[in-house]
């Protein structure tokens, strides 16, 4: 085999394995599947089956998979994003909802709404290897970029727990607002943001001291948060106001509301930091917000009951 043909062969294998581009993977609660949206074209290019009433999602740019929580079938769907198929449903407790990945892709963390623990799934063997008892109804998980810390929102305890990942140990418990749900960590890892559903505000935690530095009022029943590092802003979905709050992180104030569909839930940012995507559960659609103009520039119809609770944007470079 000539050197040249070897290279050509290798390239074609690479092409087969990874189609470059940026995609949003949207869990559809009412359709029991996941819509894959090509974000260059803003259209659904594939639909992959999941378990019953899929909710949470975490996507891996490393193993090209999406991990989806199905609270009603009590399992986690592992989806091959490139091949657009379901690899496996893995039984996971009584009510898996929140889900997040370790930055190196080795582990998946799953919050069980009813069993009050976080399961650790080995992404290589696809087996749940251990669990960590946490507070009541853990609902959101965020993992620090250095992979050392995990923050869990405990909805029924009104607090956030900081878990040291290598030691599997709770190192701090931080009181926040009422019924904390979606949780996000800044790209630098120094701040943690949590949406408090019933107090309609966002607690901002300094991760170096594990204390709340400020609480910012947003819309009714905030659900999830995206962090825009470049613009130094947060984007927060307000379920009962059908809009997104823009919070300026220099002044810690809400500076704008952007109307989207009804019951907006999952929200995530494009790696270019030019667009934010919002799944609206009641309206079965994803709204695209332009981060320059702060306006909705597109809407994409999905399956029924789009939730996309978690980090749902998958991106592979050429």
């Amino acid at each position: 085999m000539s050197y040249k043909s070897m290279i050509v062969g290798l390239l074609s294998v690479c092409n087969l394995q990874t189609q470059a581009g940026t995609f949003a993977l949207i869990t559809n609660q009412g359709s029991d599947n996941v819509s894959i949206i090509d974000l260059d074209q803003n259209r659904v290019i594939a639909t992959v089956p999941a378990g019953h009433r899929p909710a949470g999602i975490a996507v891996s740019n490393i193993d090209h998979r999406a991990y989806v929580t199905n609270p009603e079938s009590k399992d986690v769907s592992v989806i091959d994003i490139q091949n657009r198929n379901l690899i496996k449903n893995i039984p996971a407790g009584d009510g898996p909802v929140g889900i997040a990945l370790h930055p190196d892709g080795s582990e998946v963390y799953i919050a069980d709404w009813y069993k009050h623990e976080v399961f650790i799934l080995d992404s290589r063997t696809l087996a749940i290897t251990s669990s960590i008892p946490v507070g009541h109804s853990p609902s959101g998980i965020a993992v620090s970029p250095d992979g050392l810390s995990m923050y869990i929102s405990n909805r029924d305890d009104n607090n956030v727990m900081h878990i040291n990942i290598p030691e599997r140990k709770i190192v701090a418990t931080i009181m926040v607002g009422k019924a904390p749900f979606g949780i996000t960590i800044s790209d630098s890892g120094d701040q943690v943001y949590v949406a408090n559903v019933q107090s309609s505000d966002v607690s901002i935690i300094d991760s170096r001291t594990d204390t709340v530095i400020v609480t910012v009022a947003v819309g009714l029943f905030p659900y999830a948060i995206a962090h825009d590092q470049r613009g130094n802003r947060l984007f927060v979905t307000n379920q009962r106001d059908n809009d997104v709050s823009v919070v300026d992180l220099a002044s810690f104030r809400e500076i704008k509301r952007i109307a989207v569909g009804e019951y907006p839930e999952g929200i995530d940012i494009h790696p270019s930091e030019e667009f934010v995507y919002v799944a609206s559960w009641f309206d079965d659609k994803v709204s695209v917000i332009d981060l320059k103009t702060l306006e909705v520039i597109n809407e994409i119809e999905t399956g029924k009951g789009s939730r996309a609770y978690g980090k749902f944007i998958y991106s592979v470079e050429d």
């Binding site: 009433r53 909710a55 609270p71 009962r240």
Partner: protein, 174 residues
């Protein structure tokens, strides 16, 4: 079962309303009706937050603490004598819609924990469309609800409640 049901009720009473874990999946209820009457007439029938006692046959009484003002709380009594407290979240006379939410769940009324709903009136070329849409989580605090406390049962009960109201609004307006 009854014992468990009762202990669930006690738990609901002891823990502040809404903080108890509810079902993991929100359920949608969305119904509308076309009415052969002008929109302002229809809006006149339903615009008072407590007028639900006059237009929904499933409601026998309603008292509110602050009329149509923000955060006004109404206590409605159902045909079976059960009561529910609901708070007015938004009242938009110009947009002819209002939004309310359940503030005190009562599983003997409906097996739901949180419930938010919007009722709106829209002109459709001389006719009127009334839409009542809402969302709730089942109240059962565990992963496997018995049939009488399931999402499906709650959805059916709430749908019947919405539809009874919508059909009677139509009767009253036409």
């Amino acid at each position: 079962m009854l014992k468990f049901f009762k202990s669930g009720l006690i738990a609901l009473l002891l823990i502040p309303a809404l903080s108890l874990a509810h079902g993991p999946s929100r359920v949608k209820v969305d119904h509308q009706i076309e009415i052969n009457a002008p929109a302002d007439k229809v809006w006149g029938i339903i615009s008072d937050f407590c007028s639900i006692k006059d237009w929904n046959p499933a409601v026998t009484a309603c008292e509110s603490d602050n009329g149509n003002q923000p955060d006004s709380v109404r206590t409605i009594t159902l045909e079976n004598g059960q009561k529910m407290k609901e708070k007015l979240v938004k009242f938009n006379a110009e947009g002819t819609l209002y939004q309310y939410m359940l503030v005190e769940p009562n599983v003997d009324a409906f097996p739901i924990n949180t419930h938010g709903a919007t009722i709106s009136v829209k002109d459709a070329g001389g006719k009127t469309i009334v839409e009542w849409k809402g969302a709730f989580y089942r109240s059962f605090p565990g992963p496997t609800p018995p049939p009488e406390l399931s999402d499906e049962t709650a959805e059916k009960a709430l749908s019947a409640f919405y539809n009874a109201g919508l059909e009677n609004i139509k009767k009253l307006a036409e």
